[in-house]
């Protein structure tokens, strides 16, 4: 009879990952914590200020506004991208050459670097040389993302939807392909409607990929920087200045390293809290099933 041998050698296999995470995340995070309690000009010139920067950052109205914008932005793009991604996945061909072509076409936006996406939409939205801007002018809409906050928001949201809906679509597509054919056969025997098939077979089977999709999209959108920075530069005014851009303005633009470190930690805690709430809620919903 074979007995199960227990040893802890597998832990050594985890060591490289631990070291990489330590150097790329834990040590920088520790440094940020150290910076957040000091008025710091360089490692030698620094003064301990305790919790002063945290008080300043938490009571800063610019942070409140950027946080509100960030939540509105993330919720807006999740509300659009998740249903749209599911629809795209449901419409994609499942067999033959069409399936390969559809996969490639859908994946193209994901392959484009973020700053290039910003540049593409910057040109695309211009009324003089851009297709979208020219179209809006043609149908009589006074559209200018550089001067009108609503137009800037519309463009930033559209850009994100264009860039990231494919991710949700591809995740859902893989989830749909993993559903065994017998479920559909049973549904046909029961003469289930298309909606019933979606509601009682496809959607429950997509739960896991949707959890990943929602979490990924939430975290990514909550940390968005490059695309709006390239497209609008946070303007007009500060109407599209999201948290990370406000943070960069403080850390690099003004070189206020102490307040910026405190800002980063508050930002980190908010992301941690929201992700934990999302994750726990979704996992408990699954357990209840």
């Amino acid at each position: 009879m074979q007995t199960k041998v227990e040893n802890n050698k597998a832990w050594f296999l985890v060591m490289p990952v631990f070291l990489i995470v330590a150097f790329s995340a834990i040590i920088p995070l520790m440094t940020v914590v150290n910076y957040s309690v000091q008025d710091i000009f360089d490692p030698q010139t620094r003064y301990f200020v305790g919790t002063e920067w945290f008080k300043q950052v938490i009571l800063d109205s610019r942070l409140h506004e950027a946080l509100l914008r960030q939540f509105i932005y993330s919720l807006t793009i999740l509300t659009i991208e998740v249903p749209l991604g599911i629809c795209v996945a449901l419409m994609m061909p499942t067999k033959g050459r069409g399936a390969s072509i559809a996969l490639i076409l859908v994946a193209i936006p994901l392959l484009i670097p973020w700053n290039v996406v910003g540049t593409i939409w910057q040109i695309f939205g211009r009324a003089d040389i851009g297709l979208f801007g020219a179209f809006m002018s043609y149908i009589g809409v006074d559209y200018n993302y550089a001067s009108n906050p609503t137009d800037a928001w519309l463009t930033v949201v559209l850009m994100d939807v264009w860039h990231w809906t494919p991710l949700v679509a591809l995740l859902c597509y893989s989830g749909l392909r993993a559903i065994p054919e017998v479920y559909y056969q049973a549904a046909r025997i029961d003469r289930a409607s298309r909606w019933a098939v979606f509601r009682y077979i496809q959607l429950p089977k997509l739960t896991n990929v949707l959890i990943i999709g929602v979490l990924l999209r939430f975290m990514d959108s909550f940390m968005i920087y490059t695309e709006p920075f390239v497209l609008t530069g946070g303007g007009p005014g500060s109407s599209t200045t999201f948290l990370s851009q406000a943070l960069v303005q403080q850390a690099i633009g003004q070189f206020d390293l102490g307040p910026a470190a405190a800002f980063s930690l508050v930002y980190f805690l908010i992301i941690l809290l929201v992700c934990w709430v999302f994750y726990t809620t979704i996992m408990n919903m699954q357990k209840d099933k």
Binding site: N34, Q38, P43, W276
Partner: protein
Amino acid sequence: MAWMSWTLPTALFFIGIGVILVGMTTWQILSPCVERRGFLPLATTRGDRLFIGLLSSAFIHLAFVALTDVNIAVATVLCAFWMLILMRWG
């Protein structure tokens, strides 16, 4: 290490976190925990309660800093009690 600009309070903070993690790991090896339901509205393991406790303590500290002029040590003592209650009955 000088480039990390260490201070005594932050060093003590990270030593504290390190000690808690080592302690929890040892506790888990000596007596593995089972998921249970306490006053929190969800079933939790010991590690879950530690995470919830640390995260909520961070927000309690932030609230103290933002809303009051009370010494931050008061928040730390309150959070220590909160952690004990959470770990035992959470």
